[in-house]
Symmetry: C2
């Protein structure tokens, strides 16, 4: 199967936006099942005059709950049901915009890690003019060991090859200077291990290299990666907002000419265009969407998950870890 | 005195651009002394048909050298001479665009720490529409303890008050989520200590809050802060470059109308407009400029240092640390 389970109850705008996103994805050819409170979901589908498979799971896990505990105590939550569908082979992957911690716990505990994986990792995709930069870990593991970074590099490399057909993905170690010997104990030790690994390691990179065409995969701990990701969002949206304000003060004719040219930039930087981030290292495709996802982000996250399943992302990750 | 010593030999474009920046700063009223290889500097001044005080210090510390060792072994280097002028009371501060490590070592070892300061810290200033966000530590201390973060908050608060007259600066702890309990052991422990301190602590903030008008000072370790700073630069310049390309494809009349409106945004985001970052916690004003500083950045860094001296930044930091 390459059916994708959608946690229809997860996210700030669920279930209205998750159902709308699912309908758009389904129309685009994604084979999916809505997982959540069936009467609520049926009503939304009816109102849209559409139909989709629904798997009943009436409970929800809230953002503040302890993930591991919630997974145990709420077997009928939508996120646990998604993970069970994957474990049982009824789905090849799941998408959730709910609690990231709960999605990770459900993936690790119920779907399970791939053999040899030390820590599943969240791989985010940052757009740039020449393509995409993959950043991992971007939030799953706030504190890591050097050997974790090497596995992140291996898994990020597979993701880069599967989606962006980068022959031998160039891996950079996020650091505070380009020279060898920079950084914390973590970076100093990881540098040597990455050099000795099978990874195409290009050395240290810095925060300003996120838009560089010379690196495909940036590895770091989940704390720093999360800060990098959100800072990119913050800085890009600040500049975009200022530009929009400046242009809106120009004449109508100038606006009519310039705005369509700016549109592709806004579209490129819009996280909803990407859809979500892959959790790598578990025995199923898992895509974690932004908590504030609207229908467009949900649709793209579902397409991303389907794509990962179709391209056998999990099989390729498994082979890389076994070889690494 | 409020004379400022300039390391005229430090930086990628020294001494031509450092001397040009010094001349511009001097014309704007900054009282300064050029520190470096006197014959070289005299020739540049002659060529410009201008004069400035010069303090002879013929040696240079290169980027790759071990800072503490270079400070010991090169007593006639421009950076050591700058620090000595401050220690001896001949200057109230110094500016360097050379090796950041050497500037920090010279400041800590020769100028000396203020009593009670655990770790001097680099405070960067990130522009935003509503003013400035101060981020510290942004590179001096890659690994820190919770009590260091509290002192960074106190010192950053003083900087915010001195320059931006923010009554009671709002301090945020950089983290990977807003909720209490998020982050690494460092953040979990620092959260409670910050709450109990005299700092106006507003809780956790995220990378996307760099442009927020709700926070004045963001504290974190020097590794994460450096990544945040450089990522902001990278993301903002990527978007700015794309916007410039898009607009340059429009008609001349549309460009003539839109470009002047975009100019203030480019100016705001240009690090040369800020000039440099303060090293806080030593017994003199120290401003560290970007290695790639041109004359504009040097001029603004000198003005920043003079401003810090005129406003008694060091005295106020000393009082805050003594009270904290």
């Amino acid at each position: 199967v390459s059916r994708i389970a959608l946690d229809a109850m997860g996210g700030d705008h669920a279930p209205a936006e998750t159902v709308a996103g699912a309908l758009a994805a389904s129309a685009a050819g994604v084979d999916l099942v809505l997982v959540g409170d069936e009467p609520v979901l049926r009503k939304l589908l009816e109102r849209a005059g559409a139909d989709l498979p629904v798997h009943h799971a009436p409970d929800s896990i809230e953002m503040g709950e302890d993930p591991a505990r919630a997974i145990r105590e709420k077997p009928n939550s939508s996120i646990v049901a998604c993970a069970r569908l994957v474990r049982d082979g009824s789905a090849s992957g799941f998408v959730s915009a709910g609690s990231t911690g709960a999605a990770m716990a459900a993936a690790a505990i119920i779907v399970g890690r791939l053999p040899g994986v030390l820590r599943p990792t969240i791989a985010s995709v940052i757009p740039k003019p020449s393509g995409r930069t993959i950043v991992l870990d971007s939030g799953a593991n706030p504190e890591v060991k050097p050997e974790h970074l090497v596995q992140f590099a291996e898994m990020g490399g597979v993701l880069s090859q599967v989606y962006f057909a980068t022959g031998s993905p160039r891996v950079g170690l996020l650091n505070i200077g380009e020279e060898r010997g920079k950084g914390r104990a973590l970076e100093k030790e990881a540098f040597g291990i990455l050099e000795a690994s099978g990874v195409n390691f290009i050395g240290n990179v810095e925060g300003r290299d996120i838009g560089s065409e010379h690196v495909d995969v940036i590895v770091t701990d989940g704390f720093t990666g999360n800060v990098l990701l959100k800072t990119t969002e913050g800085a890009a949206s600040m500049v975009a907002r200022l530009v929009a304000e400046a242009v809106s003060a120009a004449s109508e004719s100038a606006q009519a000419e310039v705005l369509p040219r700016l549109h592709p930039i806004a579209e490129m930087m819009d996280y909803e265009s990407t859809g979500g981030a892959h959790l790598l290292g578990t025995a199923g495709v898992v895509v974690i969407a932004h908590g504030s996802s609207g229908r467009k982000a949900i649709k793209n996250a579902l397409a991303m998950a389907q794509d990962g399943a179709d391209r056998d992302l999990v099989g390729k990750l498994s082979a890389a870890i076994a070889a690494g």
